[in-house]
Amino acid sequence: MIPVSLILIPLITGIIAFFLKEAKLVRSFVLLSSLITLLFALAAAFFSSAPGPALDVEWLPSLGSRFSLMMDGMGKMLCLLTAVSFPAIFIAIQKNEYKNSSSFYGLMLLSQAGLMGVFLAADALLFYFFWELALIPVYFLCSIWGGEKRIAVTFKFFVYTFLGSLLMLAGLLYLYFHTADHSFSLNSFYHISLSGKQEAFIFWLFFIAFAIKMPIFPFHTWQPDAYEQSPTATTMVMSGIMVKMGIFAVIRWLIPVFPHASIQFAHLIILLAITGMIYASLIAFRQDDIKRLVAYSSIAHIGLICAAIFTQSTMGLQGAMIQMFNHGINVIGLWILVDTIEQKMGTRKLSELGGLAQKAPVMAILFVVMALANIALPLTNAFVGEFLMFNGLFSYHVLFTAFAGISIILAAVYTLQMVQKVLYGNTSAFTEKAVDITANVKWVLIVFVIIILVLGVYPQPMLDLTIDTVKSITTKS
């Protein structure tokens, strides 16, 4: 019951939100909705035990597809991330004015429903449905409320990801006809038997779809543009949660379905991912636009997660799992700050910022903590994830790890450069009249900081939550 309500609450309230006229009412309404979802997600994550099919009803019998949901550890964790993120985002953007806000919030909730669905679906066709459902609202959100070049940029993003998902659809169909019982269920997919050549080919159809979503170098170019142009609330959803769709899909739908191919191509993919890490880090280093900087930094982090997953080692996977959560929290926190800066100062250029530490000390502290989490300093949540992932990567290949390790250094370089240029030095024309962050944002970020530190010191709950998924993969391959 809980899993389906995780999808239904945002879906229904999202549709209702469209019809609420008063902006204030809508805001409180969606906040309430997202908080209820959070309660359900918490209940699901920590108070439900039984894994396995959570819901399984007839949907499209002639197609061999059922409306079946499943909640394993990874799903619980990502649902929790989604459920935590949305209220946080809603609170953080309380003060932002959106024209036609009922549609804005309605679409946000719809995308939440889609995301939840992706993380819960245990049926390939259903998964594909939610995969797209999450995308469409975001397309509208970005195109309507985004920046100057929003239409072209969002369109590129949409076509790119849609192309990927179409390729995946072709692959899904191919697999469907090779299942023993002609079914889309996860279980049938896991027991599929393909010849080596087929597997290799279909593997790539899937992987490209997920690689575009994550995104993995060299499929990443839509991302900085999209993040730059989207309204920040959407950017948070995209970078905090939507990129996890790709990673999630790799773990749930790629590696177990194509066990041989994912070992066969692991080298290549890890190499791509690591190249992307270094590449994105270097570019982030030269960015002047703070949004693009965070975007590239996100690409670098995702690259590591992807690489760690393909090592298929317990530690790599475990690290990737919790890093999905951690990255979500950290990057949303960063975006909230970036949004505040943009709103308050009217600029995103590092060269035009500076001296905020004097003007906005509270923000400065939170910014520094977020930045430190971004560079995976020990005792922040990201450290545990990166430590485990690098560890997994190390057991896979020493040189890869050394190469990937360069990004640790580069991360410090660009993140601290950002911190320095934003917070330190003397004030600029833009930051002279800066004031500190609002209470809403402050409290959201404080909660995030607490999450960051608690999970940095005691990550065990997350590790325990996801261990079953990790085991299911390592024992299979």
Partner: protein
């Protein structure tokens, strides 16, 4: 007993939280009380622990599981044994003194920043304690990065100045380079042994291949290079002098920079099993010692001289580690902590009096204004120069003796470095305190001795600098007088078994000590004499001295060889590869579609005749395709 262990780091942590959160509401007095008090509390607990260890030996206390997953766990555990308890004392003891000192030194800051300062400082002590107390490499790494962070925050404490921020960033990044090495070593250990706990790693070290051990130790050493400012990663330390002087004293002289030595001493068994790495350490340490000393000869910034001196002394410590004199290295850490902290605090006192003027060319004759400072500074100089019976003599001598046993060449170069040390320290001393005041009259007017919060630590440290060496009196003077060696022996016992022993005859040792000491005294006299009536040169220096003044142009070298190319490369990636390459390709597909669209629509000419013509031609093509004897079918099937 075990229950006490967690108290040691918890006090500074509490201090950090209270000062950090309450920095706006608390008064300066309250802040300094909380800041210093928490460290004092830790110090007291450390003393208890120290004696407990002395009596009962070391122990490991596990607080909780930090990371636990399939077939792999890392406990959050503290190990208090001889080595760490010694370091605890150094850290909390000197830490307390410096906190006390800071409460006066930083008094001009606004309360908010004052609070921030103490919060950072407490956080630093907390991290340093984690580093030292951790019972496995991961916890050590947490502290390792934590101290790096605090160093970053404190170097950039005056964040309005962008140069300071650059210095802070540089320190952090260089440390990170080392940290990567450390981290890789930890992964290597985990991959091979499945555990990171010291006890298990050292017990299982025998199972490792020679290559593994060499790789692990080398990587760990890279970590140490970063943290302890060894060639080639030393350049951050002189720049780190941008921070407040007490910070330099605590972090960049007494404690943090010695983390590398602590770590190698901690892993001594591994290093003893990797002679190649040991040689590497010895050579790097020696090279750093001599190289930094040459630079220190010509520096004019009071703190820069001390910074290079620190780098140089750290080099000695690594030399000691490299030649297997672990006790000697640790001993030197301790004595160095005393006298170098003292030197920095003395310098701070001077700077305080000079209103943040750091150029020694503009000082001179301060002796009469600041007697306490002058005296303590002199004692520290004597200690660092290695004049018996000051502390530096014993520790340095122990290292050099061990180096001689390993390879006489090490010894001679080391002695040359010691002579340079004497030279630059006394140059500094002379220029600062002797002669005539060379500053402005207004500056002279403000000169004064520092308040008691600053002088008391100076005095305490001066005493320690004098007597600190007496716990490690070499055997040539008295049997079993080296109580430090005795105390630490459980830690280094395994290594001692493995290492080969030469011993020198007593006469040889006397000769060496005597010779060296005499040489050093000569150098000191020469230096004082030379600089007594110093007049700042008007003309530009040239030749070797210019090279030295500019620190061998190493910063510039790094800039051109590493920083600039990386920047250029990143710019290339950003502007060319990303924009026109990858994104260009993606957009190119879009453009291609657009172009195709413009071309293809021309086919739709609007002329019925053309349409039908194309249809007829298509029919002909269809016939051709169908009736070509199956050749196409063959190709087609291949495609499928």
């Amino acid at each position: 007993m075990n229950t006490l262990v967690f108290l040691v780091p918890i006090f500074p942590l509490l201090g950090f939280l209270i000062n950090g959160l309450g920095r706006k509401s608390l008064s300066k007095t309250a802040i300094s009380l909380i800041g210093s008090g928490s460290i004092l509390a830790s110090f007291l607990v450390s003393i208890v622990l120290f004696f407990d260890v002395k009596a009962n030996g070391g122990s490991v206390t596990q607080l909780f599981e930090f990371i636990k997953t399939e077939g792999f766990h890392i406990p959050f555990a503290f190990q208090v044994d001889q080595l760490s308890s010694l370091f605890l004392l150094i850290i909390t003891g000197i830490g307390f003194l410096i906190h006390l000192y800071s409460s006066a030194y930083m008094h001009e800051e606004e309360p908010q920043h004052f609070g921030r300062y103490f919060a950072y400082l407490n956080l630093f002590v907390f991290s340093m304690l984690l580093l030292v107390m951790g019972a496995n490499y991961v916890i050590m790494f947490i502290g390792w990065e934590g101290v790096g962070l605090c160093s970053y925050l404190l170097i950039g404490f005056w964040f309005k100045n962008n140069d300071y921020n650059y210095a802070a960033r540089k320190a952090f990044v260089m440390n990170r380079i080392g940290d990567l090495g450390f981290l890789l070593a930890v992964f290597w250990i985990l991959a091979k042994l499945g555990t990171a706990s010291y006890a298990e790693v050292f017990a299982g070290a025998g199972k490792l291949t020679a290559f593994d051990i060499t790789a692990i130790t080398s990587l760990l050493f890279i970590g140490a290079m970063g943290k302890s400012a060894q060639i080639p990663l030393y350049t951050w330390l002189p720049d780190a002098m941008a921070g407040p002087t007490p910070v330099s004293a605590l972090i960049h002289a007494a404690t943090m920079v010695t983390a590398g030595i602590y770590m190698i001493a901690r892993s001594n068994i591994l290093y003893t099993m990797a002679p190649a790495t040991q040689s590497l350490i010895a050579i790097v340490g020696l090279a750093t010692a001599i190289f930094a000393a040459t630079i220190a000869l010509k520096q004019n910034d009071i703190k820069k001289v001390l910074a290079y001196s620190t780098v140089s002394q750290l080099g000695y410590m690594f030399l000691g580690l490299g030649v297997g004199a672990y006790t000697g290295a640790v001993f030197h850490v301790m004595t160095h902590a005393f006298f170098k902290a003292l030197l920095f605090l003395g310098a701070g006192s001077v700077i305080h009096a000079m209103h943040h003027e750091q150029d020694i060319r503009k000082m001179g004759g301060l002796k009469k204004y600041m007697p306490v400072t002058q005296l303590t500074f002199l004692l520290a100089c004597l200690a660092i120069a290695g004049i018996p019976p000051f502390s530096g003599f014993f520790s340095k001598d122990e290292i050099l003796t061990a180096a001689f046993e390993k390879n006489p060449l090490y010894y001679y170069i080391g002695v040359a470095g010691a002579l340079m040390t004497a030279f630059y320290m006394f140059r500094l001393y002379t220029l600062t305190f002797l002669g005539k005041f060379r500053g402005t009259a207004e500056a002279a007017h403000h000169l004064h001795e520092s308040p008691w919060q600053m002088t008391v630590p100076l005095i305490v440290l001066a005493v320690l600098s004098v007597v600190g060496g007496w716990i490690g009196i070499p055997e040539v003077f008295a049997e079993n007088a080296h109580s430090l060696e005795h105390f630490l022996s459980p830690i280094f016992a395994e290594s001692a078994k493995l290492a080969e022993h030469h011993s020198l005859s007593h006469s040889q040792e006397y000769l060496m000590m005597g010779g060296t000491t005499a040489a050093i005294i000569l150098v000191i006299l020469f230096t004082i004499n030379k600089h007594k009536n110093y007049i700042p040169p008007v003309s530009e220096t040239s030749g070797l001295s210019k090279l030295l003044e500019n620190k061998w142009y190493i910063d510039e070298l790094y800039d051109t060889v590493i920083a600039k190319p990386v920047q250029a490369f990143a710019g290339l990636l950003k502007n060319v590869v990303e924009k026109t390459g990858i994104d260009g390709l993606v957009n190119g597909v879009g453009k291609l579609v657009g172009y195709g669209s413009r071309q293809l629509r021309l086919l739709q000419s609007g002329q019925v005749g053309n349409y039908i013509l194309i249809m007829v031609m298509a029919m002909v093509v269809f016939f051709l395709i169908w009736f070509n004897d199956g050749y196409l079918v063959h190709i087609f099937k291949k495609i499928i």
